[in-house]
């Protein structure tokens, strides 16, 4: 008797490999998903709230006249919609995410749990200070870690992201110059800098003067010295720099800057390379923001929120923005106003409402307590080791513009693709088909067709080896003229290459219902 195989587990038989269009347009686990505005129906809601009729007597004649135009959906429909959308995203939790200068490290879930403790998540920024002593203690503790790790005496906690921290630092510098009665207008920025640096300097009312990089990827210290002068307010330097190198002459640069009467702003985006090993305060830095969402693992969340506390030198500390956190006999207290401050304190203003990104502070402190000073040091070492391992394993088939060792990111240019017809963009997009998020491409601007790889400390050696093997094979194929996989990649992502030119030429930035005649077609 033969077994009835109907409804039994499937067996691997002869698999047809040709693509077959599906009837639904979906493909297995890959679902197409409409916009929320194309779903739902009038009157439906996913939140049960009893109706509450209102009179107009207290609305000042301003009652809303028309509908908002929102669709109505039940909870299961909304959950399915956003779960389906989530599945169209790459994420660190799903794979190596080698975006240079972004520090895509593991985001521990303990931190998420801690940030949701009601004593942190469900407290109001303006409730009586006597009822938020725990939250203020947490901010104070985090300030202690940040000043200890950077060797700087003070830190401003309110900036909401890296660029906001840069602005905070530059405004402190402006205030310090004002206090000295000096009007200095020029800020020196290396051409390899993140775009936020020149944008911030301009935002703060300075003019930007570019400093060239030298052939070895380091900033040209002599050119920099030559540009210093009585109108130079500050330099903004990233260290380790965006080529993945530690600026060898940094102490000498700091001395020259200070001798010229200017200030030294350091972009701390790459602090993950040196935390626990080098203290920026020992390098002569006056201000540096710390991206808690990079070095201290608060999740990037698809673009934010971040947090960008700024550590300040003795010379800039008096100008830190409001609010200020103090501790006295009655416990912790926020100073939210200039009045009554001792003369030496001259806050330049306020960066934002309330006191900063508390939710990010909790996560960052949870990370720090978990790692400890020894773990933070080990993390930096592993990040640097992993980047150098990638550099050493790929430099014979790809092209590294600068001699190693590098810090926590490995920079390649497109010399190895010369004559192949394959561009940095093609190479990056082909990585998507291999299951990887591309590296940062075309940045920094100082090398041609840049590919900046930052593996972070979160990858196992097996994971790094697999990544290296894939990139080596890709580079070798390209060089052999086997370019099929690079043409029109990616093929296996939720979308093929998207038309960005069309998007910019005729911007569609919101859903608009189709006119009736068209909808009927």
């Amino acid at each position: 008797m033969t077994m009835n195989n109907q409804g039994r587990p499937t067996q691997a038989g002869n698999i047809e490999t040709a693509e077959l269009a599906t009837i639904s347009g979906d493909r297995g686990l890959d679902h197409e998903e409409a916009l929320i505005f194309e779903l739902g129906r009038a009157g439906m809601t996913g939140v049960d709230i009893p109706d509450a009729p209102v009179s107009d007597s207290r609305l000042g004649g301003q009652r809303r006249k028309g509908e908002v135009g929102l669709p109505g959906l039940s909870e299961p429909e909304v959950v399915r919609h956003y779960v389906r959308l989530s599945r169209m995203n790459y994420a660190i939790d799903a794979g190596l995410y080698p975006l240079g200068s972004c520090t895509m490290k593991h985001n521990p879930r303990l931190n998420e749990k801690m940030a949701r403790l009601p004593g942190f998540a469900d407290v109001h920024p303006l409730q009586p200070e006597s009822t938020v002593q725990g939250a203020l203690a947490l901010v104070s503790e985090l300030m202690g870690w940040l000043t200890a790790l950077t060797g700087m005496p003070a830190v401003a906690m309110s900036p909401k992201a890296g660029a906001h921290g840069e602005l905070c630092g530059m405004l402190a510098i402006k205030a310090a110059l004002d206090a000295r009665g000096e009007k200095r207008t020029r800020v020196l920025v290396p051409e390899s800098a993140h775009g936020t640096n020149p944008a911030t300097a301009a935002f703060a009312g300075f003019t930007v003067d570019e400093i060239p990089a030298k052939g070895d990827g380091h900033v040209d210290a002599d050119a920099l010295r030559a540009k210093l002068g009585p109108d130079a307010a500050a330099i903004m330097l990233t260290n380790p720099n965006t080529c993945g190198l530690f600026e060898r002459r940094i102490i000498e640069i700091a001395d020259a800057v200070h001798e010229a009467g200017a200030y030294f702003y350091c972009d701390g985006a790459n602090f993950n390379a040196i935390a626990g090993r080098v203290r920026p305060g020992d390098l002569g830095i006056d201000a540096m923001h710390i991206n808690l969402h990079k070095t201290f693992s608060t999740p990037h969340g698809g673009g934010g929120p971040g947090a960008g506390p700024v550590v300040l030198s003795e010379r800039l500390a008096p100008f830190a923005p409001l609010p200020l956190l103090v501790h006295d006999a009655n416990g912790f207290r926020m100073i939210e106003d200039r009045a009554g401050l001792p003369d030496r304190l001259k806050p330049f203003g306020r960066m934002c409402a309330f006191h900063g990104q508390m939710g990010m502070f909790v996560r960052a402190l949870s990370y720090m307590l978990s790692h400890g000073a020894d773990g933070i040091r080990q993390a930096s070492e592993d990040a640097v080791l992993s980047a150098n391992y990638i550099l050493a394993s790929l430099k014979d088939v790809m092209s590294a513009p600068f001699e190693g060792p590098c810090m926590h990111e490995a920079l390649f240019d497109d010399t190895f693709l010369e004559g192949t017809g394959v561009t940095t963009l093609d190479f990056a997009k082909a990585m998507i088909d291999e299951g990887y998020h591309p590296m940062t491409m075309y940045f920094p601007l100082v090398v041609h067709g840049a590919m900046l790889i930052e593996p972070t400390e979160s990858e196992s050696k097996e994971s790094l080896d697999r990544f290296i093997r894939v990139l080596r094979m890709m580079a070798l194929e390209a060089k052999r003229g086997e370019t099929a996989r690079f043409e029109n990649a990616p093929r296996y992502a939720p979308r093929r290459r998207l038309d960005e030119t069309a998007a910019a030429r005729k911007p569609i930035l919101r859903f608009k219902p189709k006119p009736l005649a068209q909808a009927a077609e």
């Binding site: 739902g40 709230i49 009893p50 109706d51 209102v54 207290r58 000042g60 301003q62 809303r64 908002v68 929102l70 109505g72 909304v78 779960v83 989530s86 995203n89 994420a91 593991h106 801690m114 942190f120 998540a121 407290v123 303006l126 409730q127 006597s130 009822t131 002593q133 725990g134 909401k160 944008a199 911030t200 530690f246 060898r248 090993r277 080098v278 999740p299 969340g301 934010g304 106003d337 934002c352 409402a353 990104q357 508390m358 949870s366 978990s370 000073a373 773990g375 080990q378 640097v384 150098n388 190693g404 060792p405 093929r496 998207l498 038309d499 960005e500 069309a502 998007a503 911007p507 930035l509």
Partner: protein
């Protein structure tokens, strides 16, 4: 260390491949004098999850959580009920642990919700276009003022006295750099005559409604006065749920809307992270700060979304960018978008009505207390009371009885003796009848 996958053997093999003697060799560009050892840091060593949880839980336990007591604080941050599905969905790895969607082929999830978010914000505010968020309401307001200065090429910004003082200070910090900020003075519960301050140097008038005291303002005459002198109206909204019940700024002639979106989808979090909403008219699109998601098609003709018009932004334009902003409030936008999708037209409308009804009932009850009067005749879910003595003292006193009675106006305006006895009180759908009764009893005793 549980987060670090490399073993010592791995590290040795990797150093061998690199050709480095030890890890120090990789740090050879660092000046010797700047390298420190473990002992340079007076900080503890690695801790297990259990221990970290214990330390942080002890800290958190020292606070009085809003949900644990009768609670009436507003003034720019509001306690609403966030459906459980919101927090669950935003913690999906694919949303939580992804970066800015610079590779659109594998970031359609983020890009599509940003497009939905932009649409929702435009609909709520009654404006043509919205961006994919700024940090919060206060920084959005500051960006709006700078944008108005760029558009009009005029220096002056006039801020209503009803604008949240933290917002006003945030604006002053950046808008005074190349312009001039003027703050109008106001009597709580009344609209100031702001039109008479507008001159031909005025770039914009900034008016919050409901204002910091809770008063609903009529923006129409201000928009007309501003436009007559070639200035723009920037409308600020700190309680976005209000737009489920009251006229949106877009219907009253606002040119830019800067708002705080925390109330939808996001908790109090002691002040952050929140989500800045920013919307404007189509004609000002290219002067907008921040990221924008736009619709397009892919090579196979399927609809898809990308970040667009990035020639306004710092990573392309550098010092000529419209703003230095890079990071936005991505995950907070997602929470906003999911919560608003759950609410829908009907849910939002009911939520807004419930808020107004609760606040009205509370205002009626409290203003019956001897010596207590209501100073805001029109409000949404927040109003201001005049008390017979210092509001700060009364708030402290009630806090001792575990009632968080609201925000004393003096906390925000310490230099204005006229508001010393003013208390800003908010009620939402989370406020119960028992909460109101406890507040009324406590307040009666405290003012007696």
């Amino acid at each position: 260390m549980r987060y670090l996958p490399l073993t010592d053997t791995d590290r040795r093999h990797m150093l061998a491949r690199i050709g480095a003697r030890d890890i120090d060799a990789l740090f050879r560009d660092v000046p010797k004098a700047a390298i420190v050892g473990r002992d340079a840091f007076d900080l503890p060593d690695t801790k297990g999850e259990l221990e970290v949880e214990r330390i942080l839980s002890r800290m958190a336990a020292k606070d009085v959580a809003a949900g644990a007591v009768p609670f009436f604080c507003g003034a720019g941050a509001y306690r609403h009920h966030v459906p459980a599905a919101v927090d669950h969905l935003i913690q999906r790895s694919e949303f939580l642990t992804s970066y800015t969607p610079y590779q659109p082929e594998i970031a359609q999830g983020t890009l599509q919700y940003l497009f939905e978010f932009q649409t929702q914000v435009a609909l709520l505010t009654g404006m043509d276009v919205a961006n994919a968020s700024l940090y919060d309401g206060s920084t959005a307001t500051a960006e709006a003022v700078l944008m108005a200065q760029r558009i009009t090429r005029r220096p002056k910004a006039i801020l209503s006295g009803g604008l949240h003082p933290h917002y006003a200070e945030t604006v002053e910090t950046v808008a005074n750099l190349s312009g001039k900020v003027v703050r109008a003075s106001v009597t709580p519960g009344r609209a100031e005559d702001i039109a008479s301050l507008i001159d031909d140097q005025t770039a914009c008038v900034v008016v919050q409604s409901p204002d910091v005291f809770g008063l609903i303002r009529d923006l129409k005459p201000i928009a007309e006065a501003a436009h007559a002198r070639g200035a723009l109206l920037i409308a600020v909204v700190t309680e976005i749920v209000s737009l489920g019940l009251i006229e949106p700024p877009g219907a009253m002639g606002a040119d830019i809307v800067a708002a705080e979106g925390q109330s939808i989808g996001n908790g109090l979090n002691f002040g952050g992270p929140y989500v800045g909403l920013f919307a404007t008219r189509e004609k000002f699109l290219r002067q907008m700060p921040g990221r924008l998601a736009g619709e397009t098609v892919d090579a196979s003709g399927k609809r898809g979304f990308v970040l667009t018009l990035s020639t306004r932004e710092q990573h392309i334009r550098r010092e000529k960018a419209t703003s230095n902003i890079c990071t936005n409030s991505g995950l907070c936008c997602l929470a906003f978008t999911i919560h608003l999708s759950l609410l829908g037209e009907e849910g939002l409308s009911r939520l807004a009505r419930t808020n107004h009804v609760r606040a009205s009932a509370l205002a009626d009850r409290l203003s019956k207390i001897d010596g207590v009067s209501l100073v805001t005749p029109a409000f949404f879910n927040e109003f201001t009371l005049k008390l017979p003595k210092s509001a700060a003292e009364i708030v402290e006193k009630l806090a001792d009885e575990n009632i968080i009675a609201g925000v004393p106006a003096s906390r925000l305006m310490p230099h204005d003796p006229a508001v010393r006895d003013h208390l800003i009180v908010a009620a939402t759908e989370t406020t119960t009848d028992e909460d109101c009764a406890a507040f009324a009893d406590g307040l009666s005793e405290a003012v007696a």
